[in-house]
């Protein structure tokens, strides 16, 4: 890793993370590292390192962190969250960081597709005649995909 450029650090980054839904407890971390020790993703892909991600937040490395593809490699298994002695809720912190990355346009392509699907078809999978015929054949009730509610509910 390159040497840190102190002028680039933003001491308010951690406070902004703490204002996000899910990011509230980030400042309570005392770096014990149990999140990293038990993370199944870090064992496979060492670049994904929860303890390091927390240090980057606390040091204020916003730019470097939010553009990292590895933020999207957490499997949300909650092992870190359940093991943490300080209730940092690291899995939730990952969601908060992803939200921040999306707002800055730094999320990898394709990650925003869920919102489009809801507004187009009301569900993650399309429900048309084909799906409902198959359901009726098996004696299951018809279901519908109604995108209208989400067009009204969700802001662009």
């Amino acid at each position: 890793m390159d040497r840190l450029d102190l002028k680039k650090l933003d001491p308010n980054f951690k406070h902004r993370v703490a204002q996000e839904l899910g990011g509230e407890h980030i400042r309570t971390c005392y770096s014990c590292g149990v999140c990293s020790a038990r993370c199944p993703i870090e064992k496979i892909e060492p670049e994904y390192n929860p303890r390091k991600i927390i240090r980057m937040i606390l040091l204020g490395m916003e730019e470097e962190l939010l553009k990292e593809a590895f933020l999207w490699h957490c499997s949300t298994c909650y092992t870190c969250q359940e093991s943490c002695p300080q209730q940092v809720n690291f899995t939730e912190v990952i969601f908060a960081l992803r939200n921040m990355a999306v707002r800055k346009g730094l999320a990898p392509a394709g990650m925003g597709v869920a919102q489009n699907l809801l507004c187009q078809q009301g569900r993650m999978y399309e429900v048309g005649d084909f799906e409902n015929e198959k359901r009726l054949e098996m004696g299951l009730p018809k279901i519908k995909g109604n995108p209208e509610d989400y067009k009204k509910l969700l802001e662009d």
Partner: protein
């Protein structure tokens, strides 16, 4: 016993075997599942993109169930986990509930915060109970062994999942397997994550995660891996061929949903339980039920 039946997006399109078998088993046990036609996405797929919007999408369903005056039963663990999480947040923060309700108003909906959400398996375990299920076993599955897979969102985060199982030592699914007469496999990778939620971002990483469990279950033998979540199914059944290639090894681990297993033990025929839709199954095992039912 009456619940609003929350199917989510994946199960009613891609996993009809799970839905069919759950409905049949519920009927046998006197558990009434009411379809609310306006239930749609749980909101979880939006959480990474816009957490607040995802809460609104979740709360829309909660408000609909509250209107119907029914607690919610889910089949998907991600749906169950997320609706529980949203419910917990909205019940505990008046401010957040107000903000969410301000948005729901365009649909004429409001969530007051009085709802209970339970995964189907948890209803079997807590509301109906092992003893009552035992009374219904017509065809004990003696001599068979199945590996339980709890998945992550069924039990975690503990704070919002409702404490059904200790997160490091869950027992509900194992006990529910054993009540059928089969043995529940004890194995090292029991608590491993399926990797399903990384599949879209990095397929190879997701496959590596799933391969650890499939490799162990294959090595230990037994009659299959028992699931309670369609996301786990995407990995263990849908990706199994790719994982075989990756490991350069044949796996052929049969994958089934828990209500299918329980249905067999209730004496229901494999066809009715949707086994035709299971892509990796033990045909010899199923043949025995076709003959005897």
């Amino acid at each position: 016993m009456k619940y609003a039946f929350f199917l989510g997006c994946t199960v009613p399109v891609r996993n009809l075997n799970y839905e069919l078998s759950a409905r049949l088993v519920a009927r046998k046990l006197g558990l009434e599942l009411v379809d609310l036609e306006d239930f749609q996405c749980c909101g979880f797929p939006l959480k990474s993109i816009n957490y607040f919007d995802s809460l609104i999408v979740a709360a829309r369903n909660l408000a609909l169930a509250e209107q119907a005056d029914l607690p919610v039963c889910t089949l998907c663990s991600a749906c169950g986990g997320y609706l529980s999480e949203a419910n917990h947040l909205l019940q505990n923060s008046i401010d957040l509930r107000k903000k969410v309700n301000d948005r729901l108003r365009v649909l004429g909906l409001e969530y007051k915060g009085a709802l209970q959400i339970k995964h189907f398996l948890r209803i079997l375990y807590e509301d109906i109970g092992i003893e009552k299920i035992k009374e219904r076993i017509a065809r004990p599955l003696v001599g068979f062994t199945f590996a339980p897979h709890y998945g992550c969102h069924y039990i975690k985060p503990a704070e919002t999942a409702g404490g059904i199982d200790p997160v490091e030592d869950p027992k509900s699914l194992s006990e529910l397997i054993e009540v059928t007469g089969a043995k529940a496999l004890k194995y090292d990778t029991l608590l491993n994550c399926c990797g399903g939620s990384v599949l879209g971002a990095k397929e190879d990483l997701a496959n590596t995660l799933a391969s650890q469990k499939l490799g162990e279950v294959n090595q230990l033998g037994g009659d299959g891996l028992v699931l309670i979540c369609p996301f786990c199914n995407v990995m263990f059944e849908g990706q199994q061929k790719k994982i075989e290639k990756k490991l350069e090894q044949k796996l052929k681990v049969p994958v089934l949903y828990y209500p299918q297993l329980l249905g067999l033990a209730f004496g229901i025929a494999p066809d009715e339980l949707g086994f035709k839709l299971n892509r990796i199954k033990d045909k010899e095992f199923l043949k025995q039920f076709e003959k005897e039912v």
